[in-house]
Amino acid sequence: GYRDINEIDINMNDPLFTKQWYLFNTGQADGTPGLDLNVAEAWELGYTGKGVTIGIMDDGIDYLHPDLAYNYNADASYDFSSNDPYPYPRYTDDWFNSHGTRCAGEVSAAASNNICGVGVAYNSKVAGIRMLDQPFMTDIIEASSISHMPQLIDIYSASWGPTDNGKTVDGPRELTLQAMADGVNKGRGGKGSIYVWASGDGGSYDDCNCDGYASSMWTISINSAINDGRTALYDESCSSTLASTFSNGRKRNPEAGVATTDLYGNCTLRHSGTSAAAPEAAGVFALALEANLDLTWRDMQHLTVLTSKRNQLHDEVHQWRRNGVGLEFNHLFGYGVLDAGAMVKMAKDWKTVPERFHCVGGSVQNPEKIPPTGKLVLTLKTNACEGKENFVRYLEHVQAVITVNATRRGDLNINMTSPMGTKSILLSRRPRDDDSKVGFDKWPFMTTHTWGEDARGTWTLELGFVGSAPQKGLLKEWTLMLHGTQSAPYIDQVVRDYQSKLAMSKKQELEEELDEAVERSLQSILRKN
């Protein structure tokens, strides 16, 4: 995938384009050249987001902004805070409600109009869904927003969630879950709405698996990296993050932030947080949808896993590892940074993945004490519903639904290891979480790290405490939920790059099919004899 950076020539006259290092990194703001979303390749192939609408669920959009007005989709927009079709941000003297406008510009700011910068999908349409600017959120507003115009809006981008204070455990309520399920099943003519979520800003004090939106299987949660490949200090880690994009740097260089549109026709160089990362992903997904409008919500997740790159992302604490089928992942960055060029190329030839099945792999219901020192280790042996209609052979998402109480919830650590030996950190220490009463009640901890693996075999759950004082805990339930396909998802895909993750995965699937065919032949011969 090597491209000489000097050979790429993009002519954009937008004044901030050269500051948009996350689109095309030539080393601006002391960054690492080549560490970008590789959108230039997608643009050169002709994909710019045409025919795709992205809904920004936020505090409104300045739809009169000259860099957004042309791409604004008024028909798909709504103001759920004021109950009218005009999601214009409410004025405050500190411009607090600039968040949605900044996110919108990252996705759909027009190109070559001499204003601000360029959106990732600069010919896509953007819809404003104003829902964040009110004293309190309600389930009904969230549900209404998430289900707004699912035949007009293709991608929903959310850069918000429960408070990232390191002690909150919260997620979508009943109506919102119902709306999200409806969206993935019926949105976009049955191909499924695509929900992109910012993974959270709680830093190392928080864990995004405690955020039920980011950890949902129905959302693609996106973390961020800075312009030298490190994690941002506000980034949270968790096993449900699928991939990463970019946000602002640690250095005080004012040009290391995300350049985008701002309120009242202005531009900014200082958009930041994982808020800035999610819309970049929404833009990349818009490019992929233009390349292939038939992609389902699950296809988009498969494409993300297969085309995201390690690039030069690195972290001192969380190292890159390979799962049981050789896919490289990181607890912070998921499967790596999105690569728009690779994604559109693969999307173009993509054949929809086989039907998805759900299997309860097993359940531990007897209360088990978690010791103050050492670990509680539990195992579950599963055949992944083999022999039944809902057999899951090739994993997508895995959920560990856990009910547990502890004298200090924040000191609890939970790890789960798959039969193929992949260890997922389901919960890491949250030093500020001093809850001793609520614990986790049937909380669905999710991991994407076992993607593509064979679910059959023994799963191991380890629970322990990390902290200064000894703690006690009681695990009341662990239910293993397996989600994935029966047939090989990549065996019919077209391989163009023989060094790609797709090529590797397809080769494995072919070898397994061959082994199984040989096995069947041998058994047949043995029976005859």
């Binding site: 936020d58 505090d59 109950n83 968040h99 964040l132 009110q134 004293p135 309190f136 959120m137 309600t138 389930d139 009904i140 507003i141 969230e142 549900a143 209404s144 289900s147 707004h148 699912p150 850069s159 918000w160 969630g161 429960p162 408070t163 990232d164 919260d170 109506l175 119902q178 709306a179 409806d182 969206g183 910012a198 959270g200 800003d201 947080g273 994982t274 808020s275």
Partner: protein, 84 residues
């Protein structure tokens, strides 16, 4: 923490139909929007009510529940969501 109650209500009608929902809502002083993902469920909102209160608006809830066309009315609790 004490809960907070908002001016939003989840309302289920016995007979699904947007026209009927509009009429019911108007009669009780509410605005209305159909929830597209569920049959018979509507979002009623009342601009005359405080956006956040510590106490339930029992008067409005009872008023809605007394209407024979309404199967269920639930005042929505408020919670925190933060920009990232």
């Amino acid at each position: 923490e004490r809960p907070v109650f908002t001016n939003h209500f989840l309302v289920e009608l016995h007979k699904d139909g947007e026209e009927e929902a509009r009429q019911v809502a108007a009669e009780h002083g509410f605005g209305v929007r159909k929830l597209p993902f569920a049959e018979g469920l509507y979002h009623f909102y009342h601009n005359g009510l405080a956006k956040a209160k510590r106490r339930r608006s029992l008067h409005h809830k009872r008023q809605l529940e007394r209407d024979p066309r309404i199967k269920m009315a639930l005042q929505q609790e408020g919670f925190d969501r933060k920009k990232r």
